[in-house]
């Protein structure tokens, strides 16, 4: 088991001025961290980056990196885990103007890895962007990112320009803070000047994307891994991870002790990953949310036996997604937490497809009824258990509705929400029974403590401007 971690805003100063002497680190195939820089230095420092990795190794032609990505077995780190070489090849084959987009929108509220990566290692991401652009023959490059980190990335781009590292210019665009803003077609709509709402596929953006041009959208972490594969080769890349899912991945681990971004080897034991970040409280959790708000809950005892890879998680209905691992502290109520998340997901529907627009609010209301809490506003102001039983058919209704909305949207928002709600019904079945009697197992009930454990952005979209 190998892990390296960067504690959010702890080890990394937000302002330059720390030690500037580059730190030499081991580039051995099993060493971590890979995409994150070693935990001492200035975030985004170009000299440190060049001394660690050198200049971007342009391959001198189209397509060579695609073969290396295939041999490395690199998959997308944005949540879909789609083989990178296939996406590269589709766009590389197309003729005419092509566009590449580095996706750092990270619209999943529980994920922090992309923002952190862009802050501490922007040059590795930007190397990957240039190398992928070369591989597919793109003439236009974009970086779509969190509001707030654009100035730091713009500074990195200026440094690269001075050092003549980049072959094509990179345009920065801030993503609106909407759950769906990072979805591929929503991203293309936003870069095209419109609201960040998804559209129906086909055509896929790889066939007809920004301005009608074939568009390659890759998560920023994926591009960072690609930049390393270009330098150290597929064999090196496979020095970590499992044969099916090689390499390392960035995870965002939530425990009672806080939120940590951890670069971990794929296939690491979940127990170790969580325990390493829950020093004070050990493994005192009741359930683990895997993959974020479109992911699934697993009972803690089950999660402790599993590893950080899709092959191990799939039989249990879970997937890594963008690497969110949230260990619900034993004192918290998973039902109320889930009801709040379901309400957030319903509010984040783009309101375009009937099943999503009508079904998600209905599911959220039913989950709130099971929780027995009046979930008024984003906060749980004045919330308390209603002390009355819910109607008996509500869980069955929820399961039926989850089936009805699945596969019926332009994007997978209804599917992901249905998966989350289904796992809530299964994993917190005992809690639901308890709430039906007006009780709650939590000592530190989320309904009485003001801040929910899972991070939920305040407010909800009500105007078109909220999507821009």
């Amino acid at each position: 088991m190998t892990m390296a971690s960067v504690d959010e805003a702890a080890d990394w100063p937000t302002q330059p001025g720390g030690p500037t002497r580059p730190v030499r680190v081991d580039q051995a195939a099993d060493a971590l961290p890979r995409v994150l820089p070693p935990a001492a230095g200035v975030p985004g420092d170009l000299r440190a980056h060049l001394s660690r990795h050198g200049r971007p190794p342009y391959q001198g032609g189209h397509g060579r990196l695609i073969q290396a990505a295939e041999q490395a077995g690199l998959t997308g780190r944005g949540g879909g885990a789609f083989p990178v070489h296939r996406k590269l090849a589709i766009v590389a084959r197309a003729r005419g103007r092509k566009v590449i987009v580095a996706n750092g929108a990270e619209s999943e509220p529980a994920s922090r890895k992309d923002a952190l990566l862009l802050r501490v290692a922007p040059h590795l991401v930007l190397d990957g962007l240039q190398l992928a652009a070369e591989a597919i023959g793109a003439s236009e490059a974009h970086l779509y990112l969190h509001p707030g980190i654009a100035p730091e990335v713009a500074r990195a781009l200026r440094e690269r320009k001075a050092a003549r590292l980049d072959r094509i210019g990179v345009k920065l665009t801030e993503a609106p803070q909407r759950f769906l803003a990072g979805q591929e077609s929503a991203l293309v709509n936003r870069l095209g000047g419109g609201p960040a709402v998804p559209t129906f596929v086909p055509p896929r953006v790889s066939e007809r994307g920004l301005g009608g041009a074939p568009t390659l959208v890759q998560n920023v972490e994926t591009l960072a891994h690609l930049a390393l594969i270009a330098r150290y080769g597929p064999h090196w890349f496979r020095g970590l991870g499992t044969p099916e899912e090689p390499g390392s991945m960035l995870t965002t681990v939530h425990t009672e002790d806080g939120t940590h971004v951890v670069e971990a080897e794929i296939g690491t034991s979940l127990r170790t990953l969580i325990a390493a970040k829950a020093n004070a409280h050990g493994l005192d959790c009741s359930a683990v949310l895997i993959g974020g708000f479109h992911g699934a809950w697993l009972p803690a005892a089950k999660a402790a036996t599993l590893t950080l890879d899709n092959k191990a998680l799939q039989p249990h209905g879970a997937a890594l997604g963008a690497g969110v691992i949230a260990a619900l502290p034993a004192g918290r109520c998973g039902l109320i937490e889930s009801a709040l998340v379901a309400r957030y997901l319903a509010a984040e529907s783009a309101g375009q497809c009937g099943p999503c627009l009508n079904g998600l609010p209905r599911m959220a209301a039913a989950l709130a009824e099971l929780a027995g809490a009046e979930l008024a506003g984003a906060e749980l102001a004045g919330a308390e258990l209603a002390g009355r039983g819910h109607r008996r058919q509500v869980p069955a209704d929820l399961k039926r509705w989850a089936g009805l909305v699945t596969g019926r949207g332009a994007c997978t928002h209804p599917d992901g929400t249905a998966r989350f709600v289904r796992s809530t019904l299964t994993v917190f079945a005992d809690e639901i029974a308890l709430h039906a009697r007006g009780q709650c197992s939590a000592t530190q009930c989320s309904a009485t403590s003001r801040t929910p454990f899972l991070p939920l952005p305040p407010g909800m979209p009500t105007t078109e401007d909220d999507w821009i």
């Binding site: 783009a350 009937g354 099943p355 627009l357 079904g359 609010p361 209905r362 979209p461 009500t462 105007t463």
Partner: protein, 206 residues
């Protein structure tokens, strides 16, 4: 009844039926656009009905044109079925007929290849329906003495009223509609305000 008069009667009859069908197509199209329903039919059935009746209408119009051309009492060139104002006989009214037929063909052909077409372009062409129906109606009234009196006149008036009512309903429905970004909040507020037993039994609309 000679061959010629048979063609003449066939042309008049198919023309009247085509007007009825076109009226139905336009009203159903408006219903599809506003995601409305017909009693007892699911929403996709309204869409299918709109499509199938429009194809049926084109078939009737083809017979309507061909029989008018085949009729030897007046000379109508075949081309005047699609080229406006090409006919010496009733130049204006037949010209309008040709225009509405051309517009119909444009809408049907773009709909058949809709998957390969830009949505905005398809929609722009489909909006020509609001030009096509009145032109076809004017052609019907102007070129046919049948529709100018008696119960066929009443039928024509009913068609016009149906189209007018559908258009008014469409405009009113569009004016009532919330902008996309506000829809979710409105629905969520409705559910938060009252989650009573009655709501849970409703089906999720398709």
């Amino acid at each position: 009844m000679s061959n010629s008069t048979a063609f003449w009667y066939a042309s008049r009859a198919t023309g009247v039926v085509a007007l009825l069908l076109l009226t139905a197509v336009l009203v159903l199209g408006i219903l599809v656009n506003r995601q409305g329903r017909l009693p007892g039919l699911p929403r996709f059935a309204v869409t299918s009905l709109h499509r199938n009746i429009s194809l049926l209408a084109v078939a009737f119009i083809a017979v309507h044109v061909l029989t008018a051309v085949a009729d030897t009492y007046v000379s109508i060139p075949l081309l005047s079925g699609v080229v406006p104002f090409d006919s010496g006989y009733e130049r204006l009214w037949l010209g309008l007929g040709a225009i509405s037929f051309d517009l119909m063909l444009a809408m049907i052909i773009t709909s058949l290849v809709r998957g390969r077409l830009n949505r905005v372009l398809w929609r722009a062409i489909h909006l020509l329906a609001y030009l096509c129906w009145p032109v076809a109606f004017a052609h019907s009234i102007g070129s046919s003495h049948d529709l100018q009196h008696g119960w066929l006149l009443y039928l024509a008036i009913v068609c016009a009223l149906a189209v007018a009512a559908a258009i008014i309903w469409r405009l009113a429905s569009a004016a009532r509609q919330l902008p996309r970004a506000a829809r979710v909040a409105a629905i969520l507020a409705r559910h938060t305000a009252s989650h009573g037993p009655s709501q849970a039994r409703e089906r999720i609309p398709r």
